[in-house]
């Protein structure tokens, strides 16, 4: 099974399975064209625990819990669980914050971009183009020596804390915890936060995705990065399988509507769909994984990924509290389409985020690297090899 999942056929089958599950989650109650959206689910979870008070987006998403716990189980079974951390955590946190902001200006993470495409929302093509450009810029930085440095082994318990936190959130959700009349948890009564499959379905789907994604190293950003960097189509084959499988389920279930304007929970503001995903693409690539991959890595014990996930959740909260998010398209009384998109603060935030990523890309380099000479051999290593204690 291990060998199969590492193969090309394995990632294609896994991608297809994930695509089917995502489309099914939409049929089971998740929002339209949002069977899985790591950015939106981070936003909903942030709202449920009160980090923002935007009432339509408040619900702890069990899918995220499943991603982490499924990945933990798969990693443990394959002896790949390794508690590790320490690679520029503050940077990774801020990359998570800006990734969430960029995604909430586009109104989706790369996973949702694929599902919006599979639902007929062609604004997703603009978003995916922006994602590719962001990744391309980041790849350029990597080629010039960009690095956030090495992580190091940490005590096992450190790697188990993110799964523990997700279990806590699941428990709060299952028991509909209420800390008081005006306290958390908050549950949306209308809007995307009110649209969700039953907890058991969401959790089960998340667990299966977590297992498959951990074993196959599934990464929607890496799929684009690897084609640009080394002409490797392995990850992309899985991503294409996801989109096609979701498309087929959508068409068969009548959930496919081709269009650009007034698509579900989306806007047709081309420029800011593009720029929002340029920012997200930069952030995901510089941080080493798409938002789904960061949750899967967190399940494997990667504390740097867990920090990025924290940044996603806080960034989503900031995006709502500071009015950075985009509004979806709307229909006026006379039937005209009112173009959605970000307000002025959202635009500033996206541009500031891109500037931050460019600054990081140009300046984050390992400490003065040295090649160690030893008899007959030379060493070419990553950062800090000779400066490690």
């Amino acid at each position: 099974m291990n060998g199969f999942l590492a193969s090309r056929a394995g990632i294609i089958v896994s991608g297809a399975a994930i695509g089917v599950l995502a489309a099914l989650l939409q049929l089971l109650g998740n929002p339209a064209n949002m069977g899985i959206c790591v950015a939106c689910f981070s936003r909903d979870t942030a709202g449920a625990i009160g980090l923002h008070r935007f009432a339509p987006c408040q619900y702890i998403r069990p899918e995220l819990v499943g991603f982490v716990l499924g990945s933990l189980f798969a990693a443990w079974a394959a002896r790949e669980f390794r508690a590790r951390a320490g690679s520029a955590p503050v940077v990774r946190f801020l990359l998570g914050v800006f990734a969430a902001i960029g995604a909430l200006v586009f109104l989706g993470c790369p996973w949702r971009a694929l599902l919006r495409f599979a639902g007929g929302d062609m604004n997703s093509a603009v978003g995916l183009a922006g994602l590719a450009i962001g990744v391309w810029i980041a790849v350029g930085f990597f080629k010039k020596g960009f690095s956030l440095g090495r992580s190091h082994q940490t005590p096992t318990i450190a790697g188990l804390l993110m799964p523990a936190v997700m279990l806590l959130l699941l428990g709060l959700l299952v028991f509909r915890a209420s800390f008081g009349p005006d306290g958390a948890l908050f549950f949306s009564e209308k809007g995307p936060g009110a649209a969700h499959a039953r907890i058991r379905y969401s959790l089960a789907a998340g667990l299966v995705v977590g297992v498959l994604a951990q074993r196959t190293r599934f990464c929607t950003m890496g799929a684009i990065r690897d084609v640009i960097l080394i002409r490797d189509w392995h990850l992309l084959s899985g991503v294409v399988a996801l989109a096609l499988a979701a498309l087929i389920v959508n068409v068969c279930s009548g959930n496919f509507r081709l269009g650009m304007a007034n698509m579900p929970i989306a806007h047709s503001n081309t420029l800011w769909s593009f720029l929002g995903m340029v920012l997200s693409g930069l952030c995901f690539c510089l941080a080493g994984g798409c938002p789904g991959r960061q949750f899967f890595l967190a399940g494997e014990g990667d504390g740097d990924a867990a920090i990025f996930c924290g940044g996603l959740i806080v960034g989503a909260a900031i995006a709502h509290n500071w009015l950075l998010t985009a509004a979806p398209d709307a229909i006026a009384a006379d039937g005209a389409v009112l173009l959605g998109g970000p307000g002025v603060y959202g635009k500033i935030a996206v541009l500031a985020g891109i500037a931050f990523c460019l600054l990081l890309g140009f300046t984050a380099r390992p400490r003065a690297g040295q090649s160690a000479q030893s008899l007959g051999k030379s060493k070419a290593s990553g950062p800090d090899l000779c400066l490690d204690p």
Binding site: R84, S147, R225, R231, G289, G376, G382
Partner: protein, 74 residues
């Protein structure tokens, strides 16, 4: 140099692949020894090396580390 060692432990994607590929691309290099400490790193580097026409030998070193010995053909 004929043989190059790359220590890619603790590095995020895609750094292990970039460092390994840089070593492989050097025409003077015949053998590249890459150390990684994640399964993903092992899979990604070996897939890249094989796609470059190299032979890859993978040896677990214990504590989750892997040594990939990459030999260039011709």
């Amino acid at each position: 140099m004929e043989e190059v060692e790359v220590d890619a432990r603790g590095l995020s994607c895609p750094e292990p692949v970039i460092l390994a590929k840089k070593a492989i691309d050097d025409p003077a290099t015949r053998i590249v020894r890459v150390t990684v400490n994640t399964g993903a790193g092992r899979d990604n580097v070996s897939r890249m090396a094989r796609s470059q026409g190299c032979a890859v030998d993978i040896r677990p070193l214990g504590a989750g580390d892997f040594l990939l010995t990459i030999r260039k053909d011709s």
